[in-house]
Symmetry: C2
Subunit: 354 residues, 2 copies
């Protein structure tokens, strides 16, 4: 049911992205294709769903929120394109990352070193264009009947809150990757998670709500409640992801388990485990970090260390607590179909196995 | 006189940039400093001058155009930050490029390979933040009394025209750098120059004019005339720059001459020379491309080849023609102090030796 509803949102967004005229005049062709690549690879489309359903929750005309919904999706994509360059990730949603696609294209004509550089250069520019495109889609909300004063206010939110927070979060993440993992505290990880993931979810619900309420007042109590919801969902979503990466079912998850250990990624699960473990146990866990691969047997050792430390339970408890908090935040709203969708979404995100 | 006026604009822009609250909440500190670095290195501040003076030309309240003027300067800076990463340029306005500053900072704590990567990663993010900051400054024009409908329209111009054209221009430039220089035509170079430089000058005059006229109509005849002016000035400016890089006075120019030859940059001067030269002469010029340095004697050979081909004269003629066209575009406007400033600016840019 919720998957079907997400699928409807996904089709709507794909249609807007495919028919929008922004990419048409981008040159050269290879750059244009790079700009369209991630936006047309449908992911969960979670963010556009938050825009549309928040608008519906507050009795808004959800048609008015459609461009804004496409905007948050394209916005999400530019951050992924630059992230993938920075993290040197070569795969995104089961296909080559944008810079890798560009590199593969360039290999036909250039030396492999030049192709690598070309991929990164065009990848940076493709993300820059998506950044502008996202803003452009948001501004087109005027054509859907959203007053220009509200649209200008949403555009300011996008720059002042979303971009500043999200990019700061990405920078903290980069910084952590250069630090010794023992020097990053769980509190720092949680803050980074909020900035990197939560800021865009908050922007999504705020945007839907402002369009519905025809207000630019971010302090409106209903908007505050929706922000509480999105913040809780965002962190819980991330915690679930980190947990699945270690304790999940490899087949259902669709990705190898333990990769966060291989890349020594400071997740809250790992940082909490390291905080509680002492002596030999701590040394054992630290010893796995940066391994080129994790065997099934090693994964079992990691799991038992994380269990023994109490970190797994703490993370699961925290996830449930946040899920409950998210639910509670929505209790102040009238019981309509969109509230039901948001509650189902919360439930789905935190029980999913992939 | 014109330098003094540009200096006044520069001080105004520096003041706005320094007191704006956008950078305050950027984390970590090193990223915040990187975001402020280029904007506080005052260059010519040519673009903000075009915004303010175009507004004044049309009897607008130039105070209303101040945030927009700061916006085009910050916008220019994010493109430089990403360009410098792409072109691997380590110097900007006599100081280290942003990614180099960041690398130097990181060297204190990281290995040199990690410091290099850190510099690029944070450099990408610093440019992304400046991109958002520029848009944010433009949107703040509402506080200066510009109606929200006009501001939303200017923001759309920034995304739809400026960003799309300018980033396409940068991509074409990147593409040329991988091509054999013989496969790039003078027409392609001219188009790239228009996109990469002209688009921002056009946006600058259009923005000043729209604020003055309180219109969102880009087809207004006065705006069209100002766009003609900016397009001519932009290409002439670039031609002057390319000419100075070969035929200038090294001391006045402040940079070594012939570097465009070393980097085999397809300038219109070079492409036109190659178009006209035949046989041995052409081979001789091609032979210098990519040299690690150009001696005084070699520079004289290059100069004489470019002269002999007729390319130098063609470029100088073209520059004068464009300068004259720019002047003519302004003849339809009433003779006020801002028209004088724009004419002086045109004259200054095309007679400068640095």
């Amino acid at each position: 049911m919720i998957l079907e509803e997400l699928n409807n949102i996904s089709n709507l967004i794909t249609e807007i992205i495919r028919s929008d005229d922004f990419p048409e005049k981008i040159e050269p062709l290879q750059l244009r294709e790079a700009v369209l690549s991630y936006p047309l690879r449908a992911g969960k489309r979670l963010r556009p769903a938050l825009v549309v359903w928040s608008c519906g929750l507050l009795d808004g005309d959800i048609k008015q929120a459609e461009y804004a919904a496409a905007a948050v999706e394209v916005y999400h994509n530019w951050t992924l394109v630059h992230d993938d360059i920075i993290d040197q990730d070569d795969v995104r949603r089961g296909k080559p990352a944008t810079h890798t696609e560009l590199k593969n294209f360039a290999k036909k004509n250039y030396s492999s070193q030049n192709a690598e550089k070309f991929g990164t250069d065009f990848g940076i520019l493709a993300g820059d264009l998506q950044h502008a495109w996202a803003m452009n889609l948001l501004l087109k909300s005027i054509h859907k009947g959203v007053p220009s004063g509200i649209v200008a206010n949403l555009a300011r939110d996008l720059c002042e809150k979303l971009s500043r927070e999200l990019i700061s979060g990405e920078a903290l993440d980069v910084e952590f990757s250069y630090k010794d993992i023992k020097d990053v505290s769980p509190e720092e990880v949680e803050k980074m998670m909020y900035l990197k993931t939560g800021a865009l979810l908050n922007f999504s619900v705020t945007t839907g709500a402002k369009i519905a309420l025809n207000t630019d007042n971010s302090k409106d109590k209903r908007i505050q409640k929706l922000v509480e919801f999105a913040t809780a969902v965002g962190i819980a979503f991330q915690l679930r992801d980190d947990w699945l990466g270690i304790f999940g079912d490899a087949e259902a998850f669709g990705k190898p388990l333990g990769t966060d250990i291989c890349s020594a990624k400071p997740t809250l699960l790992l940082q909490t485990s390291l905080k509680y473990l002492k002596g030999d146990d701590k040394a054992k866990l630290l010893n796995f970090l940066g391994a080129s691969r994790i065997s099934k047997k090693e994964l079992e050792i990691i799991r038992s260390l994380m269990r023994k430390s109490g970190a797994e339970k703490e993370i699961l408890d925290k996830t449930h607590y946040l899920q409950h908090q998210a639910e509670k935040s929505l209790s102040v709203f009238p019981d309509n179909e969109y509230r039901k969708l948001l509650l189902d979404l919360n439930n789905y995100l935190l029980t999913r196995n992939k």
